[in-house]
């Protein structure tokens, strides 16, 4: 059980008794995997994410994250260190207006001495491409840079699991690309496990796996090319397939192409050039 980065069994949660937000969710994530979670607003994505670092208390079911039992109250801080979150609005999670102090806050809070916290902060800032930014004012940075500071704060705590909750929805496309590159680097160099909650189907198409949430339940869990090309499933969950899939279906109907639908622009190019 400890080998998985996330192991959820029958997790249910209700903010209001009788109105469950999560119903019997079971989910496994392997170390180093990038899993995209998609679903309508209100489908339970954020509630699930909040369970992963104990922001939401476990009411029912079993959950282990980085080998830590989420029900064990004595290990809450350990769990929060192992699983860090990057939220939609980066300004909401800064604790200092100075980049280096903000990033060092986590390790210092988890018991590191000044030098240890500072070294962890500098190393994390370098990993997100912000070396030399430690004295800058976080509020003077672009949205993409701010999200990378938030990510550095998570990495500085040596988190094994990174949860990004709509982390690209308030930043411009260049900022999104910067964050995607920083996350990719964290996976490659630190072996981090990434759980990315998003409405961006093009981003989801680049994950190892896509999980679809509907009415608090896991409606599908599989490879992007299987899940994102399944229009019936997506429409049932209030979602839309990527534009490339919709275009492919029209070509298929006209008898121009055959075979499985590509889910990315690159996939479309190779399918049409073969």
């Amino acid at each position: 059980m400890g080998e998985r980065a996330v192991e959820a069994r029958g997790v249910s949660h209700a903010y209001v008794p009788g109105r469950p937000t999560l119903c019997d969710v079971s989910l496994d994530v392997s170390p180093g995997e990038l899993v995209a979670i998609v679903g309508e607003n209100g489908s339970g994505k954020t509630t699930l994410a909040r369970h992963l670092n104990a922001l939401a208390p476990l009411q029912e079911g079993a959950l282990r994250v980085a080998g830590i039992d989420a029900a064990d109250q004595s290990r809450v801080w350990e769990l929060r260190r192992a699983c860090g979150m990057v939220f939609q609005n980066p300004e909401n999670q800064f604790v200092s207006s100075v980049v280096g102090e903000d990033v060092a806050f986590g390790p210092r809070n988890f018991g590191a001495d000044e030098k240890g916290a500072r070294d962890a902060a500098l190393s994390a800032l370098a990993d997100v491409g912000l070396a030399g930014f430690e004295r800058r004012d976080v509020h003077a940075l672009s949205g993409g840079q701010q999200q990378r500071v938030a990510l550095a704060g998570v990495l500085a705590c040596s988190a094994d699991v990174i949860v990004l909750d709509e982390a690209t929805s308030m930043i411009d496309p260049r900022g999104r690309d910067e964050l995607v590159r920083a996350v990719t680097r964290a996976r490659e160099e630190r072996g981090a496990t990434v759980i990315w909650i998003t409405h961006d189907m093009e981003l989801a198409a680049r994950a190892d796996r896509v999980v679809v949430m509907r009415d608090g339940e896991v409606a599908a869990d599989g490879a992007p090319e299987d899940v994102l090309a399944n229009e019936t499933l997506l429409e049932g969950a209030g979602l839309e397939p990527p534009l490339v899939v919709r275009a492919w279906r029209e070509l298929e109907e006209a008898g121009v192409v055959v075979g499985p639908a590509p889910v990315t622009v690159e996939g479309l190019v190779s399918a049409l050039c073969d």
Binding site: G39, E40, N41, G42, Q88, N89, D137, H139, A140, S142, G143, G144, E166, S169, M170, I171, D172, P173, R174, G175, H199, E202, G238, L239, E240, P242, L243, V244, R246, A247, W248, E250, L251, A254, V256, V265, E266, L268, V269, L272, C273
Partner: protein, 269 residues
């Protein structure tokens, strides 16, 4: 409402005490339709909307609204401004303070909510804060739409919305313009603007660097990239296919158009 901006400039003091020029000699004439406003974070989009709304005065230049009606400004994440305890009171507040009788205010709020795909009958007594994020955004936009502004300004209205809420939002934007309002929508989402915008204005460091027909500009992937913007997905796909030697005539902006262009490139009707 028509809106004319003539040589509008605005600067503010930066964190190091320096002058930051947010708007630099912006001149625009807007009359009806949906104008998309694109530009990187910090390019001046939000400031321009505030100046257009009369909420922030320009340092120099002229801002001239003409015609009847009022201005509706939907801020970024407008759901953060909820202050009434119920959806009904939130969506009728603006009308009630303008002296609109309660039954008419309710009727107009219900219509605005219906346009956003929500039902006042179902949500009337609920706290806006108890709704999902997508519902909250739609309630906030409906509160402005209920006022039937003749100049409607929206700052990133689709950011963070799921497809259903996004569709409802774009439908409402289009229908406000079709009813005669002048609409300006700031957005990073080229795919959303491809669906609703008639005209596109691009801001870079406070200056207007592109201004033209939305379709033509959004479909030109190299031009969009040259201005630091992400082209619409169909335009990116067409561009990538052409680079790989696949003939894709025209300027596709939607899935239908992309499929049609690929078929046309293969000599299919």
């Amino acid at each position: 409402m028509r809106l004319t901006l003539d040589g509008v400039c605005l600067s503010y003091e930066g964190s190091a005490g320096e002058r930051v020029r947010a708007l630099d000699d912006v001149s625009l004439a807007l009359s009806g339709g949906v104008t998309g406003l694109m530009g990187r974070t910090g390019s001046g989009k939000t400031t321009l909307l505030e100046v257009m709304a009369g909420a922030t005065p320009a340092d120099s230049g002229r801002v001239r609204p003409e015609g009847p009606g009022e201005v509706g400004l939907v801020f970024q994440q407008p759901e953060r401004q909820f202050f009434e305890p119920t959806v009904e009171r939130e969506t009728t507040f603006g009308l009630c303070v303008r002296g609109v009788p309660a039954p008419e205010a309710r009727e107009r709020a219900a219509r605005a909510l219906a346009l956003m795909g929500l039902s006042l009958d179902e949500l009337a007594g609920r706290s806006p804060l108890s709704l999902s994020g997508g519902q909250q955004r739609r309630v906030a936009i409906a509160s402005v739409l209920a006022l039937r502004p003749t100049l409607l300004l929206l700052d990133e209205p689709t950011a963070g919305l799921d497809p259903r809420a996004r569709r409802a939002c774009l439908r409402a934007v289009r229908s406000a313009a079709d009813a005669g309002a002048t609409v300006v929508m700031a957005s990073h989402d080229a795919n959303a603007l491809a669906e609703v915008a008639d005209r596109l204005v691009v801001l870079e460091e406070g200056r207007v660097t592109l201004d033209g027909a939305a379709r033509e500009l959004l479909a030109d992937a190299p031009l969009m990239r040259a201005h630091g913007l992400e082209p619409a997905c169909a335009a990116r796909a067409a561009c990538a296919l052409r680079r790989a030697g696949v003939s894709v005539p025209g300027s596709p902006l939607t899935a239908d158009e992309l499929a049609g262009a690929i078929m046309a490139g293969r000599g299919r009707p």
